[in-house]
């Protein structure tokens, strides 16, 4: 118990004095995970929407792939990306292995099926007449699909939370394709999870606990913020206020 407490105190100390090592790892983790989540959204939301709204030959196979992808073990994804990127692999010429790009790629493979799968499930559960209604008011294929997505934005946010949660918490893939490296004494491909594993393997439980607490803290804060946006309230109104002029809806929304 004392060890855990010491770890917690150490975490507070590291955070309070902005320990450069911890700050770097934390920023790097956030950078990699955000990039992977955004890339997962950009690919996963259209894929999930397409699978939910269209019937075509081979759809069932793709749906099975996406569903299987939602439960992919990160280590297997890491291995797969490693085999792709290693010097003699099909994408070896990119020289991405043991770079941040490799980690992002692996994490996109993890996040994309999660986001696509939840998007697909949400849209399939949505009232199909809403899309019909949008089309009967003049919206085209794309416009009506976007309307349906907007109607299901709570589920989409859940998909994004799941995708982000999936990538920030995994260690196997990041370790395998990133290598948990320091470059010139500075963290290069070291994330909070891989660093924690390293500290434990070196017998420094206190520092490992400190990193774990920071990771947990970041996850909780980000998920809390997203939940606030999802469930409405003050923050959601602020976000809408910021976004309204971008989408040109202030005219109707403000009154």
């Amino acid at each position: 118990m004392g060890e855990i407490w010491r770890g917690f105190v150490e975490a507070c100390r590291l955070i309070a004095r902005f320990d450069p090592y911890v700050v770097k790892i934390t920023l790097f983790t956030l950078y990699v995970c955000s990039l992977a989540t955004v890339a997962g959204m950009v690919t996963g939301i259209p894929l999930g929407t397409w699978l939910a709204l269209h019937r075509f030959r081979g759809r069932r196979f793709l749906v099975t792939l996406v569903n299987a992808g939602m439960g992919l073990p990160p280590v297997v994804v890491g291995l797969f990306v490693y085999l792709l990127l290693k010097r003699r692999g099909p994408l070896g010429f990119l020289n991405w292995l043991y770079t941040p790009k490799a980690i992002v790629l692996a994490e996109v493979v993890l996040a994309m099926p999660l986001i696509a799968g939840i998007t697909m499930a949400a849209l399939q559960n949505a009232d199909p007449r809403l899309r019909l209604q949008a089309r009967s008011l003049g919206a085209g294929e794309l416009g009506s699909a976007l309307t349906l997505l907007r109607e299901n934005r709570l589920s989409l946010l859940a998909a994004v939370i799941a995708g982000f949660g999936g990538v920030i918490s995994e260690v196997g893939a990041a370790m395998m394709v990133g290598g948990n490296l320091l470059l010139n004494g500075e963290p290069y491909t070291r994330t909070l999870t891989t660093a924690t594993v390293l500290e434990v393997s070196q017998g420094d439980s206190v520092r490992a606990i400190a990193l774990g607490v920071i990771l947990l803290g970041i996850t909780l804060v980000l998920v809390w913020v997203m939940t606030l946006i999802q469930q409405g309230g003050w923050l959601a109104r602020q976000v809408r206020g910021v976004l309204a002029p971008l989408s040109g809806r202030r005219g109707e929304a403000a009154r």
């Binding site: 007449r129 019909l132 089309r135 009967s136 003049g138 919206a139 005219g251 109707e252 929304a253 009154r255």
Partner: protein, 377 residues
Amino acid sequence: MRALLSVEGLRRDYQGRCVLRIDGFHLEEGKVTALVGPNGAGKSTFLRLLSLLEAPSEGEIVFWDGSRLSSLGRRERRRISQQIAMIFQDPLLFRRSVAENLAYGLRVRRMSRTERRARVEEMLRRLGLEGLAARDARTLSGGEAQKVALGRAMILRPRLLLLDEPLSNLDLPSRRELLGLISSLVREEEVTALFVSHDYHEVLEIADRLAVLIDGELLQEGEPGEVFARPASEKVAAFLGSENLLEGVVERRTEEVAFIRVGESGLTAVCDFPVGSRVKVLVHPEEVVLVPRGEEAGSARNRLPARVLEVRDAGNLVRVRLDCGFPLVAYVTRASREDMGISPGSRFTVAVKATALHVMPFTRRAAGMGLSEGGVE
């Protein structure tokens, strides 16, 4: 009469089963046509075909500008469909404010923000919802929500408004209010409307034309009064709730009239059926006159002795069930019941004019009323 839209040989199959087959139909411009039929008759399918939300298995739709469905390119299709608006049984409002819901179709059409705002404000005023612009549309009551759905369609100033049972989920006061609103908006904007309902009572008030769709077939179309007075078939009569649909055989005839044996008695009617034909005779209850026995029964050709079997209140009128050799129903006012002493067992003379009877061919299965189960709506 000018047709806004015509249908030729339209057919829609689902999984190999034909659910809609309409040989010919013209939608009159500027008129409200009510399309009625039991559940599962194919009414909603017909609307989806007309609104281009679904493609027919066969057949053609000719639009106001002469363009034909079969030869519409993608862009023309969009142009046509943007002039058709549809509202459904449920309001299906979007998860946004009332004003944003109203503006949806205008934004799709890339209308400028100033014009959009002006139109939304005008529509809110016409709907009587001025105070609710910023309200989340999903927090509205059923009646208000359906008003917004109507406004969202009418704000587009469509050529054709399709209404798919928009009243059926509302309580009676909201129903009346919405019907009044639909009527005024449609007339003011001179929009052609096709109003689908399984309950003809609710649409008669605003319908200029009445079309009856049963079992996927358009059985009759015409002025509502004419359809009620002279249903084209027994199925139509039964759907329209016609009482006194009697089975008989033409026993003898002159050039103009036929004597039709019904039960132990008979009726004289104006019709063309030859002797020996099995027919159905529709006697409209409001055409049945009760006369005290021994009194003059006017010029009516049919004068039959009758015994009252049952007397029941039916709203403002009284429903009298009679036996005059066959069962017959008549409606009288409360005052007549008192004055004439109409009660079970009392005897009268029933008078019905030969011209008031409507004779139809006999069909074995009565009235497609049992088709609601498993039908595709």
